[in-house]
């Protein structure tokens, strides 16, 4: 049986998805508009409406997350559905906050599209009702460990969006992607600025991920008696950390800067998604908290 708040949360989640959909459509129309014009035009009203809708969607999304937490009387990240719900919230939040500092609305279509896709998959496939926590999860380390993991994931996702834009822009600057459908890229910043931006976001993600691994190790020591045991989830946390360490080094190395570094960042984000989805669902290990 669902309690009231829980059903409100679910309704809010679907509403947020609906608003994200509209926002995504407007972002796309904006990009298409730039493709047909010279591309250098100022932000259109489509873009402004898309941003407004994204903010409204995010507020509803936030409400969904908070009501979920209230109905469960605990942090909203104790199973796969809740992790997905909160991580997407953080991702869109990072994107919105980034706009206060610098205009990155050009990746809005990517962010809103990704948020929509992720929320849809998570809600349809991983939804579980609020249940009490098993003893192993009743610890304040759940709050810390998963919270930084959610933050890290949100930053990695935004960084991936910027890295993808950077790769496209780089191809265009090298003389490719000159057809009309790629015209919208001319409204994007240069590949170099995209790179610098992606780097800054990803470095923050890397710091959060470092904290995730450390907090996880401390918790594992308390719960399982060892701080590191190469459990499947630990293996993948290590892989992700190593890949982004590689990215940070690549970016400081001549010949690896630019495209190769961006590809590494995308591989790293691929590992994040893999760790969340495939490893949670199909791999055997101690982190069996999907709730499914």
């Amino acid at each position: 049986m669902m309690n009231n708040l829980e059903s409100i949360s679910l309704i809010a989640t679907y509403s947020a998805m609906a608003v994200y959909t509209l926002s995504f459509i407007l972002f796309t129309i904006d990009l298409a508009g730039r493709a047909s014009s010279t591309g250098q035009s100022a932000p259109t009203r489509w873009l402004r409406s898309a941003m407004a809708l994204l903010i409204i969607g995010w507020a509803i999304h936030l409400a969904a997350d908070v009501t979920r937490a209230l109905s469960a009387h605990r942090v909203p990240w104790a199973n796969m559905y809740e992790f997905g719900l909160t991580a997407t919230l953080v991702m869109v939040g990072v994107f919105l906050a980034l706009n206060l500092w610098r205009d990155v609305r050009f990746v809005g279509a990517f962010v809103s599209g990704f948020a929509l896709l992720a929320l849809g998959i998570v809600t349809v496939n991983f939804y579980v009702s609020v249940t009490p926590l098993p003893p192993a999860l009743q610890d304040y380390w759940l709050v810390i460990h998963v919270c930084v993991a959610v933050l890290g994931t949100g930053f990695f996702a935004t960084g991936a969006a910027l890295s993808s834009a950077q790769l496209l822009q780089e191809s265009r600057e090298a003389g490719g992607l000159q057809t009309r459908s790629w015209q919208f890229l001319s409204a994007f910043p240069s590949a170099i600025s995209l790179e610098a931006l992606a780097y800054r976001i990803l470095v923050i993600g890397f710091v959060f991920w470092t904290f995730t691994v450390i907090a996880g190790a401390i918790w594992a020591e308390r719960a399982w008696g060892r701080y590191w045991g190469w459990d499947t989830k630990e293996v993948w946390a290590f892989i992700i950390w190593t890949l982004f360490a590689g990215y940070i080094h690549a970016r400081a190395t001549r010949g690896w800067r630019g495209r190769p570094a961006a590809i590494l960042s995308l591989i790293g984000f691929g590992a994040v998604v893999f760790n969340y989805s495939i490893v949670n669902l199909f791999f055997k290990g101690l982190h069996v908290y999907s709730g499914l």
């Binding site: 049986m1 579980v128 009702s129 249940t131 009490p132 926590l133 098993p134 003893p135 192993a136 009743q138 610890d139 380390w141 610098a196 780097y199 800054r200 470095v203 710091v207 470092t210 904290f211 450390i214 190790a217 918790w219 020591e221 308390r222 719960a223 399982w224 008696g225 060892r226 701080y227 045991g229 190469w230 459990d231 499947t232 293996v235 993948w236 290590f238 892989i239 190593t242 890949l243 360490a245 590689g246 940070i248 080094h249 690549a250 970016r251 400081a252 190395t253 001549r254 010949g255 690896w256 800067r257 590494l264 590992a271 490893v279 791999f283 055997k284 290990g285």
Partner: protein, 538 residues
Amino acid sequence: MQPIDLADTTSDFDSPDAPRKNRLTAPIRGPKLGPLEFIRWIWRVLTSMRTAIILLVLLALASVPGSLVPQRSSDPNGVSLFKDTNPELFKFYDSIQLFDTFTSVWFSSIYVLLFVSLIGCILPRTLHHWRILRAEPAEAPASWGRLPFRRLVPATGGVAAALTSAESTLRAAHYRVVRDDTSIRAEFGYLRETGNLVFHVSLVGILATLAAMGGYGWNGQRVIIEGQTFTNQLASYESFHPGSWFTEHQLVPYGVTLTKFVPTYTKDTVKDAWMPIDYTANLSVKDASGTRDAVLKVNEPLAIGDSQVYLLGNGYAPVITVRDAKGTVVFDQPVVFLSQDSNLTSVGVVKVPDGLSTQLGMQGFFYPSAVELDSGALASDNPEPTKPTVTFNVYTGDLGLDSGKTANIFQLPIDTMTQIAGRHTGIEVVLTPGDVFTLPGGLGSVEFSGLRRFIGVEIRHDATQLGVGISVLFMVAGLLASLGTRRRRVWIRVAGTARKPELEWGGMSRGDDPRMDAALDKLVERAHQTSPARVARA
């Protein structure tokens, strides 16, 4: 392993003798190398940034099999299952150490190379940074025109006063400053490289701790039934994994008695299933300092001596009493049954080797809250003992205990024994507490005489924790210091004419530093209380 952006802007920043540049960009002519040059060449390749990146990616790649294939370290049962189902593939996998990924030759060689590369990089860099830390701020570049940020301000009140004001502003902003009559050079952000080096040295610290202290660790597993006392000695453990340098003297003598184990369950109304929400084990601990009560819970290990006790499992141990034909007790003890599902349906084995006219073995099923299904079979619908019931399949014959092999306490050699009661024999053995079953053939009787709970504990000593913990603290501090610090240089020289003197400020920053421009404005304004004029880059 290299300061960010060393490659791009180093030509005029630290770099003339900065170690670890991209040495591989120089053409390499392999065949002409002598042995010494060859070693140097190998060293250069190994400590180059490119190699470090490739090794990092390789390390990530080499970890993947560790999550795909069951590992002996984390999932020994998975490994034996794999061996049973795929004996041929098992041999192949085992020959390339896929079941021991993280101690395998190939994984080890990658991280050893990575750490050699790392050490080969941080040693010269530390030396270099040490020199820079002791050196004065660098001289201004010969051509000011190349400086990315320049400002001009009138030196009202005289050159000396203006320079003094600039000097104190820079010092207040934590710049290292050198001043003479006509110029100032200042430098900031040494912490960036210091933090970076601390981060990398800490990584070596983690590995060194693991190598040095890992061998002193040990861990053992043990089941303790309510009322039982575990004494900390090698013979008391059911399984024990010593590190390579373990000696038995390391085991501090103490005793742990399980007085009561209290689980709490709640009904998940959605899934219609019982879920545990709390496990509490009440213990009595006796060590050199006396006897005390203690509580052991999941996530709350108990420290005794230099070891930690962890609560990992629990279940039921029905007390079984077996009497011979004359009524003399030949077996009377709680028997550990392993739970099979969330309602704690459990299986266990009773072995009575002595006292009866033949050896007796019983395969048991325990249901804490027995209900009869439509099929007639029993099941449990609650993990709490609302209607505890044991059923047995009873066998006589050789228990196989004398064969010398270590017998599994949860298995009976039923192929070579004779079943005398239980399933498919027409003689059902279904007991609730107090029930007595009379064995066929005048052998004796079996009583379900009581019910207790047990806990499974793991006891560990890990000598690496302190060293790794300290290293990780330094690692985080180094990472944050390095990422949060900007490396900046500021120079000031006198410009303008003798009648109308001006100060010219020049600044540069290494790498990504979008705020350098604004930071320079702020410095100049603070020093001269006036907005400076910008000078374009030549």
